[in-house]
């Protein structure tokens, strides 16, 4: 019984079932929005939402079901690869020679010079074994390991990514120029010296640049300008340019112009001014202000050409009014003045350390070499005896036969030359 289950687990049939299951589950993950709050599914899919939550359709790729499928796949693939190994080892050896197959076409032609054919094969790096009735030839025996190498590559990739994700260290940080982020574990910190955008003539954004300085125990160790596709690598941690945004200076003054309070706000942030129970909500800063078709404020580019702020005020949580202001232009409310000005950019950085990636690269190398061996370096055998020239291969009998026909044709021509 146990043996039977074991055989099934490593069987080819089970592999096909897993292939289909993994593909289907993956498709579901691309069709149904992932990682949204459960209420969303309940509302959108009604009573079916419950079933979807149980089947974890809301987070397909990190679900237990998906991991389970991958685990079974790993067992299946490892099992069947090990299972194949002994017969493959046997087939690599010189004393192994397959018997002709159903699809072996007899290329015998009495006009051909067999000795010449033998030489031609030698030139093509075939190994020749003389027999009583003629000879046998073999090539690329090692290619029989192609599938094994391929499978090994896949095993390394899956295991590597599993383990890598388990131990990956990653996060996201927003930095304004002058700010520092410390990575305790790695024992260094980075300071954002400057962040700026590069523009093209047409005003579109060309790149995002962060000038970073690396410090270890207060000592300046390294500097690098990073941009998208050009991260900073330091002590195994990579730091990537990911996003950016605007920060704006808010000041609240009394009617004499004396500052009562100051703050800095990102877009969509608010400031609560206690004495008046006033909430100042910065809806957005628009460096190149315009109004879209829906009447909503928008920016044409990120270049500071025509800057404006969109601000909303609330008192005790009740809406008062919305305003569009220029930098420094005051919004008067009762006896106070509210102004936004001096906006500047901050950067959004992703940091990540994941040794799984290196396993994946090694696995990929195996996978690729394995595929090349399987498709283009597969074992080829020939039996040449009286009245028969039989090509034998499991892989690509048609191509191999074609190749042999060409050699035999050349055999004719070279004969003519000799005459």
């Amino acid at each position: 019984m146990i043996k039977k289950i074991g055989r099934f687990l490593i069987s080819f049939r089970f592999a096909i079932v897993l292939f289909i299951a993994i593909a289907t589950y993956s498709i579901i993950g691309t069709v149904i929005p992932q990682g949204v709050a459960p209420e969303f599914y309940m509302e959108k899919y009604k009573s079916f939402g419950n079933i979807m939550m149980i089947l974890q359709f809301n987070k397909v790729y990190s679900s237990f079901i998906y991991r389970g499928l991958l685990l079974f796949f790993l067992v299946n693939l490892t099992g069947c690869t090990i299972d194949l190994l002994p017969s493959q080892m046997r087939r690599i050896k010189d004393d192994y020679f397959p018997s002709p197959r159903k699809d072996s076409e007899n290329l015998w032609d009495h006009k051909k010079d067999i000795e010449l054919f033998k030489l031609q094969l030698l030139k093509k790096r075939f190994k020749i074994y003389d027999t009583e009735k003629g000879f046998k030839a073999a090539k690329n025996r090692i290619g029989v390991l192609g599938p094994t190498v391929t499978h090994l590559g896949i095993i390394v990739i899956i295991l590597g990514s599993f383990l890598g994700n388990l131990f990956a260290y990653e996060g996201f940080v927003n930095l304004m120029p002058g700010e520092t982020k410390t990575f305790m574990e790695q024992g260094f910190s980075i300071e954002l010296e400057d962040f700026y955008l590069g523009f093209r003539e047409d005003g579109s954004t060309e790149q995002y640049y962060s000038d970073l300085k690396v410090f270890e125990n207060g000592k300046h160790k390294d500097s690098k300008k990073i941009w998208v596709n050009n991260p900073l690598d330091y002590k195994g941690l990579s730091i990537y340019q990911s996003s950016f945004g605007w920060v704006s200076n808010l000041s609240i003054k009394d009617s004499q112009g004396d500052i009562l309070n100051q703050s800095i706000l990102k877009n969509n942030e608010q400031y609560f001014y206690q004495p008046k129970h006033l909430t100042v909500y910065l809806y957005g800063y628009y460096p190149d202000f315009s109004i879209d078709q829906m009447g909503q404020p928008m920016t044409l580019s990120q270049e500071v050409k025509h800057p404006h702020y969109a601000v909303v005020l609330y008192e005790f949580g009740n809406y008062i009014d919305s305003y569009i202001t220029e930098p420094g232009q005051a919004i008067k409310y009762e006896d106070i003045e509210i102004t936004f000005e001096d906006s500047f950019l901050y950067t959004g950085l992703i940091y990540r350390k994941d040794f799984g990636y290196y396993f994946v690269l090694i696995g990929v190398l195996f996978l690729f070499i394995g595929l090349l061996m399987s498709f283009y370096y597969y074992p080829k055998f020939l039996v040449v005896e009286e009245n028969s020239i039989l090509p034998i291969t499991r892989q690509n009998i048609w191509g191999f036969t074609l190749q042999m026909k060409k050699i035999l044709q050349a055999n004719d021509e070279s004969e003519k030359e000799e005459v």
Binding site: A23, V360, L371, R394, G399
Partner: protein, 273 residues
């Protein structure tokens, strides 16, 4: 006259030539005249040359390879299909191969012609040398799968007409279609593997993670699993002929979905329209 004018002219011209080639192949199929077949091949080759000229002009104009928006992908994809077709044709000398491949090329070009053709500079995430390797291999891979699917359709039609056996058919030997489709699929699969791998290495540099289950990534994996299944069934179960041919067609539908469907229907980091 500026370069753009000629680029558009050559694009339209090659589109028309591809339509003529497809018609030529169709007539070849029903009339069984060798001369028509030769004519269709020559026309395809001429179309390819004009198309290549259009591509080169676009490369000169934009100063980069044409891999940055949906129009350029579709245009390059078409180019890849015709390139793979012509390569197979001249290696194996099967006139009829074009019969079911050229219509695919012209359909893909029709899709391209409906998209905005503006040349835009590369957005920050695309500014990488990995772009050319990643998309370049994709074009070859998808082109091979298109040829494989064309060969499979040819095989299926051949099988259907086999019983009737009245008129002499111009489809190459069914068995050769079957084998060739398998070999071309294997090559396309190797290229697809490269596409996924280069994509992962690039994603690691640009987005910090090598795999993120973005719809494009996921669908390329699904396509890859489908072709893995095809290769296994073929190799281990000796699947040949009809079943294999249908599988190859399904695989290609999956390729098209990964290419077009994902961009249109599923939003993600990869939707550079």
């Amino acid at each position: 006259m500026d370069i753009i004018y000629f680029e558009e002219l050559f694009f339209t011209l090659s589109f028309i030539i591809y339509i003529i080639a497809s018609l030529g192949f169709f007539i070849f199929l029903v009339s069984s005249k060798d001369s028509v077949g030769k004519f269709a091949v020559t026309v395809s080759l001429a179309g390819f040359i004009v198309h290549t000229a259009a591509m080169v002009l676009r490369i000169i104009e934009s100063g980069r390879l044409p891999f940055s928006n949906q129009f350029e992908f579709a245009n390059s994809f078409t180019w890849g299909i015709v390139l793979c077709y012509l390569a197979i044709h001249f290696i194996y000398k099967f006139t009829a191969v074009g019969t079911f491949v050229m219509p695919l090329a012209f359909l893909m070009m029709g899709y391209a012609s409906m998209l905005p053709k503006t040349i835009k500079p590369l957005m920050p995430a695309l500014q990488s040398r990995w772009l050319s390797i990643h998309v370049g291999t994709a074009i070859i891979s998808y082109g091979s799968f298109a040829v494989a699917a064309g060969l499979s359709v040819m095989y299926l039609i051949y099988e259907r007409n086999k019983g009737k056996g009245t008129k002499k058919s111009h489809l190459p030997d069914a068995e050769i279609c079957d084998y060739l489709s398998y070999r071309v699929t294997a090559f396309g699969y190797l290229m697809l593997t490269l596409v996924i791998v280069t994509g992962a290495i690039w994603a690691k540099r640009a987005w910090s993670r090598y795999w993120g289950w973005d719809p494009k990534e996921t669908w390329s994996l699904i396509t890859w699993i489908i072709y893995s299944t095809y290769l296994h069934l073929r190799f281990n179960r000796g699947w040949k002929g009809k079943t294999a041919a249908w599988f190859s067609v399904i695989g290609f539908i999956c390729v098209i979905f990964t290419f077009v469907g994902v961009n249109v229907l599923l939003a993600g980091l990869h939707s550079y329209r």
